[in-house]
Subunit: 341 residues, 2 copies
């Protein structure tokens, strides 16, 4: 049985196949030469950005958004015109007066907090307990991730409104006989409560490198202290995919992946036994690979966690050219460029 | 220093950025619903296919190619129209009478052998010693690789004429302190003579699975017998990239990658010491990772071999989010879909 559905459940959006009008979001408009798209705006959020600009103007303040016709774009970039030509007639960037990451971050903060406070619009995304109170960095190129390329930061819960790429870390902790430590998410989590997860996983907040974020999450989610994990944790690449929520919000994601092989003889050691710490995980089980595979196919995993396990299974020789007819499509789609990066 | 140039040297062609007229090649024309492109034809080969059809007709034989206007395609597939709309006005497939893999393979064989014998056209590609006398399978979907999806087979040397995807295997044999066995290609090889290579690498001929092909090449290229390698060889995915030769020929390639960790204590064993066997490799050296990296950046490797080592370096934690700003572009482009698969 092919594992391709695991990929389709995460990489479920393609710009060129979308019938919805999506407006490209840049740092600057018109974009500078080779400046990439950093997000995609649905009509409902585009209207609210226009409304917000008007309300600022009526209060005697400067508008924060620069919303212009997309014609200049079509002339300069056939690639993007091909993607958006039939859909979008506008493009959005920051007002040119917002020329620093700090000023952009502050302007977006004020707007999102207003929406959060009034629970309108987009209350289902950013009102009440959905607000995470956690800043995510947005980069001026979604595939060049570096403190020096940070364009601005924004509240985590608001990122799907702008269709911007967010970044996370996932750890697979396993034994030499390929049993994997799998937690069940707390039923009270904002998203995917009660589903299975990767040993440790989390978003990368502003100010953290991927690796530091991974080490921090090991303690917070699984009670695995830094001195235990750092000698054994191994970076192993990343997956990227374009996820659209059931309500149509766009969440292109990058997850850096890490492996941790429990050292021989330490399989029963308390040091290498993950335990809930901050309440995000409810419990942990050490499951054989074939049981993990069954639960992936049965849909028991949070979708992107199943994808990370699938990447692990490919890298470790469990999913091969011989037993997976769709290996190449799996590899290509789990390393997608979102159609614009 | 970024390793992105290693990727650019292999993935150096993008359909949508090409100014050359490229005609899509299908098994059937008009293509059946969801039937993918299997190759791309430059104008010079398109003309020769037309000439060949005419010469068959003048000999009282059936033409083997069906060459039609691409208008029906534009109506059915906006994705492909987007890629080829401005370039191509035709599409090519086999005559409907060639309805089996065997009949298609035989028809292409007769044509290519005629070109080979007369050293015209395309003598530089398929005349003399360039002819490999080795059949490569072409699949009805380039990303669904299975004996049951084989559309036809053709002489290896002719594949760039049709821009069809070819498949290979690459092995990285390494020690636990991450020294890698690197061969130098024989100066007499048809391609990339004298350059550095992966421990073992080769194309997958018709009738072989990727794994069986890998095991066979271990003996042929490195004198590593089956009973030595099979307990230790580990599949680890694949890379895919769209390569264009200096003369403009298109060679989209898939390379299945394998790792072989020399067992502890066997580093000096004759069993795990690769040696030239069939003359394709001239010599082997066990090089530390940092030396390998220097030689990659210095351009001493055959380009796609450097790419496979780069994939190895990502999977084994040497190239990370922290030391490689372009990690995400590297991962995405080394798992490309060719723009049509």
């Amino acid at each position: 049985m092919t594992l391709l559905p695991i990929v389709y459940a995460c990489d479920n959006f393609q710009i060129q196949a979308s019938s919805e009008s999506l407006t490209p979001f840049y740092v600057h408009v018109p974009p500078r030469p080779n400046e990439p798209i950093i997000g995609l705006l649905r009509d409902s959020i585009l209207r609210e950005l226009e409304n917000y600009n008007e309300s600022l103007t009526s209060e005697g303040l400067e508008p924060i958004w620069n919303i212009i016709s997309s014609d200049p774009l079509r002339e300069t970039s056939s690639r993007v015109a091909g993607a958006f030509g039939k859909n979008s007639t506008k493009m959005v960037g920051f007002s040119s007066s917002l020329s620093t990451p700090e000023s952009r971050s502050e302007a977006i903060k004020v707007m999102c907090e207003r929406w959060h406070r009034t629970a309108a619009p987009f209350g289902d995304l950013i009102a009440g307990k959905m607000w995470r109170n956690e800043l995510y960095p947005i980069y001026s190129h979604p595939f060049v991730v570096d403190a020096s390329t940070e364009a601005f930061a924004m509240e985590r819960a608001a990122t799907p409104l702008f269709g911007v790429v967010t970044y996370g870390v996932h750890l697979t902790m396993y034994t030499s006989d390929y049993r994997i430590w799998i937690p069940r998410r707390a039923k009270t989590k904002q998203t995917f409560g009660g589903m299975l997860d990767n040993t440790v996983a989390g978003g990368i907040p502003r100010g953290y490198t991927a690796y530091d974020s991974m080490v921090k999450e090991c303690m917070e989610e699984a009670s695995l202290p830094e001195h235990v994990v750092t000698p054994h944790i191994k970076p192993a690449g990343a997956v990227s995919y374009f996820y659209q929520t059931k309500k149509g919000w766009l969440q292109p994601e990058v997850e850096y992946v890490y492996d941790l092989l429990v050292p021989a003889g330490q399989e029963d050691s308390v040091d290498f036994t993950p335990k809930p710490f901050d309440g995000e995980a409810e419990s942990f089980d050490l499951l054989p690979m074939d049981v993990v595979r069954e639960k992936m196919l049965a849909g028991e995993f949070k979708p992107n966690c199943a994808l990370v396990v699938l990447d692990f299974m490919v890298r470790h020789g469990f999913v091969t050219a011989e037993n997976e007819p769709n290996l190449l499509e799996i590899l290509s789609r789990m390393h997608g460029s979102f159609g614009y990066a």
